[in-house]
């Protein structure tokens, strides 16, 4: 019986692929028959096959969640959303600001701003002091009070 049994696949890298193909049920019938006979006699191969079988059973039991029809659309939207320069802008509702903007626009039309021709405050104060000093100088030198 031993002569019909191939060398243990675990001892040869070439034959290890046979075990993996057997586990995945992709091994041809002739090799499958030969390997099954060896497994019945080889405890190490049985142990390996049992553990591999657990993995395949688990994979068989795993059910993929169904993909929604708009998955691609939502995915693209989220990618675009994250790439946007100012996400907070899109979260603002501009409708309440429209009446305020309209009032401001009317105000600008009705009361256009005049160019600021007033002198700077410092200059104004200096000129006030200068004017007062000139008045004092005048009152010192012009005999305005009637005798």
């Amino acid at each position: 019986m031993a002569e019909h049994t191939p060398r243990c696949p675990l001892q040869s890298e070439d034959h290890a692929q046979l075990l993996l193909s057997y586990c995945s049920r992709r091994l041809d019938p002739a090799h499958t028959a030969v390997l099954q006979r060896h497994i019945e006699l080889c405890a190490a191969c049985r142990t390996l096959l049992e553990s591999q079988q657990l993995v395949w059973d688990a994979l068989d039991a795993w059910n993929n969640s169904p993909i929604s029809r708009d998955f691609d659309t939502r995915l693209l939207q989220r990618i675009h959303h994250h790439r946007g320069p100012a996400r907070w802008l899109s979260s603002i509702s501009w409708k309440p600001a429209l009446p305020v903007a309209a009032i401001l626009a009317l105000g600008i039309i009705a009361f256009p701003t005049q160019p600021n021709t007033a002198p700077q405050p410092d200059t104004t104060q200096a000129e006030q002091v200068e004017g007062a000093l000139e008045d004092l100088d005048m009152l010192q030198h012009l005999p305005l009070d009637v005798k």
């Binding site: 700077q120 410092d122 200059t123 104060q125 200096a126 000129e127 006030q128 002091v129 200068e130 007062a132 000093l133 000139e134 008045d135 004092l136 100088d137 005048m138 009152l139 010192q140 030198h141 012009l142 005999p143 305005l144 009070d145 009637v146 005798k147």
Partner: protein, 164 residues
């Protein structure tokens, strides 16, 4: 009621109120406030003026600082009274003074002497002197304009507050 009658009625109605109004209080003296500033604050304020005007203002401030306190207080009272004159008369005085300062030194002395003379005269005599041929002969048109402005200020009832 016509508009003229309405105006007259309003004038009659408001006249007693206006007559009873006290004269405007003198404005707080800018100069006194300015004098109370620290030298650094004074300099910072006057630095806003062009150099020549700043120099003149600094010179006037120095004169004011070194003035005896009694003289400064008297000047301050005249200044407050001047502030109460109508704006037109204030401008008239300033114009006359600018013209006066622009005169050559000898003519400035002559005009100033004439001002002293006019100030000492009763109003009628003052007017007669200004109209006299001698006055026209002694003073140029520009000088007479200054003296006319000066006489008008002396004759103004508003000027009474300038008497101290």
């Amino acid at each position: 009621m016509s508009s003229a009658a309405l105006t007259l009625a309003l004038a009659l109605a408001t006249a007693p109120y206006l007559a009873a109004q006290p004269r405007p209080r003198p404005q707080p003296s800018r100069i006194e406030k300015f004098r109370q500033l620290s030298p650094l604050q004074r300099k910072k304020t006057l630095d806003a003026l062009p150099p020549d005007r700043r120099k003149q203002a600094e010179q006037r401030l120095r004169e004011l600082d070194t003035m005896p306190s009694a003289q400064r207080e008297a000047l301050q009272r005249r200044y407050d009274a001047f502030q109460n004159l109508p704006e037109r008369q204030q401008d008239q005085a300033r114009r006359a003074y600018r013209e006066f300062n622009a005169l050559p030194s000898d003519r400035r002395d002559a005009v100033h002497a004439e001002m002293d003379t006019l100030r000492a005269l009763p109003e009628d005599d003052r007017a007669a002197r200004i109209r006299s041929p001698e006055h026209r002969k002694r003073f140029s048109a520009r000088e007479r304009s200054i003296l006319d402005d000066f006489a008008a200020l002396l004759a103004s009832p508003s000027n009474s507050d300038l008497r101290f």
